[in-house]
Structure formats: C-alpha cells, structure tokens
C-alpha cells in the first residue's frame, strides 16, 4: 500500500472514531420516497418528450417509420450536410441516396481530423427521458464511439417512441447493465452545445454540435 493511501485511510479512521465499529453502510437508512417510475404512457409520454427536448434549442419532429428515409434527407438538406458520419450498426436502408455516408467501424475508425472535416453525424440512441428532454447514448449499435457525436457540428438523432421513458431514475436504470456488465461510456445530451450566460438563458455553445435535430419515430 502506498504511504499516502495508508495515511489517508488512517486519517479517515481516526476522524470517524465515534462511528461504531459494527455499523454497516445500510445502517444509515436512505429513504427512496421520491418518484422513481412515471405514470405517463403512449401519446402523453411522447408529447412530453417532444415538448421538453424542444425547449432546448433542438429541432424535434414526430414522424412515421416509413417517412424516415425522406425525413433524414430533408434534415440533412436543411443543414447542407452531405458527408455524414454513420456509426457502426446503423441501418443502412434508412440512408437517403444523395448522402455520402462515412462509415465508422472498429476495423477502420475515422480519425479525429477526418471527423472534424465532416458535415455531421446520424445516430440512434439508447433511451430518451421525457421529463428532462434528454437523449441517452450508450455507445451501442447505431451510436458508436463517443467522439462521433462530438466533433461534427451537426447531430441528427433518431429516437424510437418505445425508447422514451418518463423519469430520470428510469433513464439511469435503463443503461445500468451496460455500465455494470460492459463498462460502456454513457453520454446524456439535453439540447445542443450551449453556454449558460449570467441570466442562465441558453445561448449557442462553443464546442460540440451546435445544431441538434431529433426525429421521433412512431410505429
């Protein structure tokens, strides 16, 4: 054991002299009386997510599954984005013909400099939290490495309606296995990059994607 570690642990033990030696962690009771699971479902839940994520400066649109290809095309057009990063595991039959997809896979990952030059990224997500308008990425299929949704200036994110949960506790629970079993990195995104000014109004940010579009896809 390092000397520093030894000494810090020793300091802690003598600081906690009054704590009974047989006290267990759980003996300090924690009441989880706060709301863990929401009670919204279906339409109400989707509506809440759309409303809350739209309050940050993200563009949010509800679409049907068969419109997906067309809507991706329109969104990219709007941002004049052609060279789009496509994470490993993203369904290629959703991709419009006019895009120049830049595939990132573990065999041949795009370099940071390459990513910096591209127009944007299209990704899916792991979950979305309605209460806070948050998208959760877990580096799974269709999302890829963290850097993919960070360096390009435009992020188009596809959220399936059945991925929306209501509360923050449900959000953390939903990716807990990915962390515990696989140690995957988790990223919460709530609106585009922003900087909070003195009034704490969000204004456009300096880093990270400055434009965020969300397509909420129904059955």
């Amino acid at each position: 054991m390092s000397k520093a570690k030894d000494e810090i642990l020793h300091r802690i033990q003598s600081a906690l002299k009054e704590v009974p030696a047989d006290e267990k962690r759980e003996d300090v009771a924690v009441n989880r009386e706060y709301i863990q699971k929401g009670n919204l479902s279906g339409e109400e839940l989707v509506t809440l997510f759309v409303e809350r994520s739209g309050e940050y400066q993200a563009t949010v649109k509800r679409i049907k599954k068969e419109e997906l290809k067309d809507e991706i095309s329109k969104a990219c057009d709007r941002h004049k984005a052609i060279k789009m990063v496509i994470p490993a595991g993203f369904k290629t039959d959703w991709l419009p013909d006019l895009l120049e997809p830049q595939f990132d896979d573990s065999g041949a990952p795009l370099s940071h400099d390459e990513l910096d030059q591209l127009d944007g990224v299209i990704s899916t997500c792991a979950l979305a939290v309605a209460q806070t308008g948050t998208i959760i990425l877990d580096a799974g299929a269709g999302q890829g490495r963290r850097v993919l949704s960070l360096l390009p200036d435009y992020h188009l994110c596809i959220v399936r309606e059945d991925q929306i949960v209501e509360t923050v506790p449900e959000g953390f629970a939903g990716v807990s296995d990915q962390v515990k079993k696989e140690g995957r990195p988790i990223t919460f995104i709530s609106g585009p990059s922003a900087t909070s000014d003195i009034e704490l109004n969000r204004v456009e940010g300096v880093h990270g994607p400055r434009k965020l579009d969300i397509l909420v896809v129904g059955g």
Binding site: E18, Y34, H112, V168, V179, S196, V206
Partner: protein, 475 residues
C-alpha cells in the same frame, strides 16, 4: 504565521463600493434565484430527493474508508489507475509526473474548482507545462493573464472590444471584428485545434461511483466532453468526498444538481465513463484522490456535513452577503456560504482570513433552505464561530474578549435567545446594508457588520460586460 490571507472584512468593503460589479452580481443572483425556484417548484418530490441526497452522502462519509477502497478496486478493474494524494503538493507532483511521462508541454483542461484549490496550473507551469483552460470565459481570463472576477461569471469585467483586442493579439487573428458570432467562432477554432492535437486532458469530477468506478462530469459547452474523450491520456482529480455509493444513486444527484446549479431540468452534457473503453476515448486513465484537509473536516462531527456539498452554487445565489460583496472577498476558490464554512475547515482557523469567514453571514438561513443536500450551513457557521473564539481565548490575551468577532458572536448569541430580537437584528442587517450601499461610500456599517471598513481600489468595470455582450448579441 506565514501566508495569512486578508480577512473578509478587509476586502468586502471595496466591493460594497463598486456599484457596477454589485449591480451585475445582484442582477445575476436574482435571476438565477428565481429560475431555480421555478424549476425546483415543478418537482413534487423535491424534498424527498433532498432527503435521499443528504442520507446518501451521510452514508458515504460515515464509511468513507471502505467506499474509497471500493472505488479504487472498481476503477482498477475497469482498466484505470488510482493515485492517492495527502495534500495539494502531492497531487501536483503526481499529475506533473504523469504529464511529463507523456512528453508534452501542453494539456487541455476543463474547469474544475478542485484543481484551482491545489493551484495545479501554477505547478504545471513551473515544470514548463501549459494548462489550457477550455471554458470560454476561463479562456478569456487566462489569455488576459487575469484573475477571474466572479465564480459564476469569471469574465464579467471584460467587454467585447477588449475581448476582440485580446483575441487579435493572442490568437493571432488580425482581421477579427467584435461581432459576437465572430469572437465565439474564433475561440471555437482556436480551441478545436488544441483539442485535436492534445495528448493529455485534465478534468475534475462531479461524482465518482464506488460500485462501478464510474466518473461523472456535468457541463454545458462541450469542452468537458472534448477533454475527456479526445486525448490519449486522461487525468482526473477528485476530492475524496465526491463519492456516491452506487450507479443507481445518480437518479438522486443528477436531479438535484442541474436544477440547483444552472436552474435547468438537465444541463446540456453529462459524461459518465468507467475506466478505459477499448477503441473509445482515452486509453490511459488516472484518477487522483485528494485529501488536502478533507479528513480534518470529516473529524468534526458538526462540520462533517460540509463534505456533502455537490458545488451547485445555489447557496451563493440566495446569500445577501455574497450578493453585496462579491466572490473575491472570500479569498478562496470556494466563495459564498459554502466557502464560509469549507475554507476555514480546510485551511484551519489559525489563518486570520479563513477565521473571518464564518462571520460573513447574517445567519438568515436562506442557504440551508436551497441546499440540495441539506447542509445546515447556519449551524456549521455558529459552530465554527464558537471554535474560533475558543482558539483565540486559548492563544490569546484578554484582548480576545474585546475582539469584534467575539463581540459579534455575543450579539448573535443574544439575538438567538429571543427570536423577535433575532428578526430585528436580521432586518437591521439587511436594511442597514441597503442604506449604506446607496451612499456609494461606506465608512461604517451597523452592529456586528462594522468590521467591513477596509478600503481597496478596484479596476474600473467597462460599460458593457462580457456577459451582457454575450446576452445581447443575439438580439
């Protein structure tokens, strides 16, 4: 005694006289206060969340040794390295050593109060390593080789023309206009190059999870994601009190923090990483666990709760003393009510400056009401005042009895005996301050505030501050 910091009273007066800064600060704190109240108000279970947050932290503190060992094991299992630092110097040595191993002379940094506390940037500089701050406001302050003027708004004393001139000179961009968009873009491009070439990133940690080894950084601009994702090596400095027991406990703290801090349902970006992920992000991860006085705080049964703090700054924004005196008066990287209780415990009450801080309060209790982890700041303040008086009596002289601080405590104690009288004292303190503030010049304040009389000159504040400019530029 060496390196005594000036007392709160010595500096506060200058701020009381600085109308511009006071107005900016007043405006800022009021706006944040109102927004926080709204966003907290929409949570029917807020009190349950606070209670759970308090108890989780209490659990951690009472079993801190076992939780730290668990965290260490989890991080190591996930491929990270863990270092222990007894004090600032030891932490700085560890970090400088790690950076030198990578043979670089520049690192990118995301703002962290803990690294400010240990003066990491200075330590790196001594070894020829430049630590580049990447928050926009921090960058401006750093390029200007200035001191932050405020914890929430570090560049409050710079207007857009000054920023343009600064960027023209330092970023070598001669054509730059003072259009806000152009300035923001200039900073983005400058930092982007740095991010892309950085080999080492340094961050603080908002939370560390004992059972999974996960570290969390909570931020807005995206520079935190850059620093923790792009470099090959990541070094994170974490105070030993930042622990939470399990991954599940984020469900409490990640509701409490954003709403209390920036008054948002959720801040733009939260990064959670667990050791090293092959093929994704830094492939070398070092976690430096810092004591630096925290175990002293732990040893005081009343003061211990100070370690619950999740650095949301809600207590600053509701504090009438902070609002009127500004962050500098606290002479610490931790200003406001939390600074008034944390600094003297970290530094020790032998330091006159630190020992003056527990008197920088009218004990109105607003800080306790907003604190998301229910730290009873007034109680700790009164407790520390008692300790300070005892200490003075012990070392000292009869004079200690006539010491204004001692008198202040007595007044407070009298006021406490009788709640009517206490309320009157509150009123007196509050309206008293207003009256004196309107005068512009203050030579004395009533009652126990009369210690605030030292005079100091402050740089004049430009007409339009950086933050005003930032806000107005979209209009």
């Amino acid at each position: 005694m060496s390196r005594q910091t000036p007392t709160f009273q010595e500096t506060a007066d200058a701020y009381l006289n600085n109308t511009q800064l006071r107005e900016n600060l007043g405006h800022a704190t009021h706006t944040i206060r109102d927004k926080r109240a709204d966003i907290v108000g929409e949570m029917p279970d807020w009190e349950h969340l606070r209670e759970a947050g308090n108890k989780l932290k209490k659990r951690v503190m009472r079993h801190l040794d076992s939780y730290l060992l668990q965290l260490e094991a989890s991080v190591q299992e996930a491929g990270g390295h863990v270092h222990w630092a007894r004090d600032a110097e030891e932490a700085n040595d560890i970090i400088t050593g790690l950076v030198k191993q990578q043979q670089v002379d520049e690192v990118v940094k995301v703002k962290s109060i803990t690294t400010d506390e240990i003066k990491l940037n200075e330590a790196l500089k001594k070894e020829g390593i430049q630590a580049l701050e990447t928050d926009l406001a921090e960058l401006i302050v750093q390029l200007a080789e200035d001191e932050p003027s405020h914890i929430l708004v570090p560049a409050i004393h710079k207007n857009r023309k000054e920023i343009r001139d600064l960027f023209r000179e330092k970023l070598n961009n001669k054509e730059l206009t003072d259009r806000p968009e152009d300035l923001a873009e200039a900073a983005r491009l400058y930092l982007r190059k740095k991010f892309l070439s950085a080999k080492v990133g340094i961050s603080g940690a908002n939370f560390g999870v004992a059972d999974t080894g996960t570290i969390a950084v909570v931020e807005s601009e995206g520079n935190g994601r850059m620093c923790t994702t792009l470099p090959e090596t990541l070094i994170t400095v974490m105070g030993i009190e930042k622990l939470i027991p399990t991954w599940q406990d984020f469900e409490v703290f990640m509701q409490l923090l954003p709403r209390s801090s920036t008054a948002e349902r959720m801040n733009p970006y939260n990064s959670f990483w667990t050791g090293v992920t092959p093929g994704d992000g830094p492939q070398e991860f070092h976690l430096v666990l810092l004591d630096n006085g925290r175990t002293n705080v732990l040893a005081d049964e009343v003061g211990r709760q100070t370690l619950n703090c999740i650095r949301c700054s809600a207590c600053l924004n509701v504090c009438p003393v902070y609002e009127r005196t500004g962050g500098h008066a606290y002479h610490s990287v931790y200003p406001g009510p939390i600074g008034a209780i944390l600094t003297p415990q970290l530094k020790g009450i032998e330091d006159d400056g630190a020992a003056s801080l527990p008197y920088a309060s009218s004990l109105c209790g607003a800080c306790y009401e907003v604190c998301p982890v229910k730290i009873d700041i007034p109680k700790v303040l009164v407790h520390l005042r008692g300790k300070i008086v005892d200490e003075k009596k012990r070392n000292g002289s009869l004079k200690a009895k006539l010491d204004p601080e001692h008198v202040g405590l007595k007044l407070m104690a009298q006021a406490f005996k009788n709640s009517k009288r206490y309320e009157r004292a509150q009123k007196l303190a509050q309206t008293g301050q207003n009256i004196f503030v309107k005068d512009g010049k203050i030579s004395s304040l009533p009652g126990y505030l009369s210690g605030w009389s030292a005079m100091r000159d402050l740089k004049p504040i430009p007409k339009e501050t950086f933050r005003e400019w930032w806000r107005n530029r979209n209009e």
